[in-house]
Amino acid sequence: MTDTKRLYRANRRQVLAGATVLAGLGLPALQTARAQLQANPAALALAIRKVAGDAEVKTGRVKLDVPPLSENGNSVALTVTVDSAMTPTDYVKSIHVFAEKNPQSNVISVQLGPRAGQPTIQTRMRLADTQDIIAIAELSDGTFWRDVRSVVVTLGACLEDPV
């Protein structure tokens, strides 16, 4: 073995050893980040309870539009439409959106009135992981309606890209 080759081998060994140490350090950190992303049904139930109280939240009348697959959780388009005539006596009072696996369940809450004309809102949200999104609408007659859609997120927001 020539001197150059020996030198190269030594470097290669050092690099590999260094990589192993790095991997060892990185893995637990990654696992902790993953562990935080478990769905938190209690927090979600509490957030919904704050909105709906003890009223029954029925399925229907609300249409939640989200892409079934999202490459980047940092910006996911979202459209909520409610089936309502929007007359002064029958209108949508509010629309609330929740994400079950985000560190905080609430996404957006909007207050509408009969002057809204059309109960449709659009925005962009962050998603930490693949999860279910829930939209709840409160109507002027005091009933609550909901729609649930699941979104597959390839790269989650919040926990990636440390500054």
């Binding site: 207050q111 962050r126 927001a157």
Partner: protein, 106 residues
């Protein structure tokens, strides 16, 4: 002063439902991120957005950290009379910005 984009039709027929699109540049720092040395980055978001039409509130939104950076919000209203829309965003650290747009209703 953050840059805000507002899209309101210049003209509308009376009783017509119009779409209003708003976008404002803001980091919407969630408060859940950490720096590479582990320090938590404090939350810095816009938490309230209000739209008034000739002084009457027609739309109000409470935003949470799950709203993407540069919050984009679209909503609708019925064009009732000519006048102005006032848009106000308020948030953490005393953030407050007001913009206006006018409409002619025929």
């Amino acid at each position: 002063m953050a840059r805000a984009l507002i899209n309101v039709p210049a003209k509308a027929k009376r009783g017509e439902v119009i779409a209003i699109k708003t976008l404002i540049s803001h980091v919407m720092e969630s408060g859940f991120r950490h720096t590479s040395v582990g320090a938590r980055i404090p939350r810095d978001i816009i938490d309230t957005f209000v739209c008034t039409y000739n002084g009457e509130e027609i739309f109000r939104a409470a935003l949470h950290p799950a709203i993407a950076a540069n919050p984009f919000i679209t909503f609708h209203t019925v064009a009732a009379e000519s006048g102005t829309f006032t848009f106000q965003w308020t948030g953490d650290g005393g953030f407050s910005q007001t913009e206006t747009a006018s409409i002619v209703v025929e």
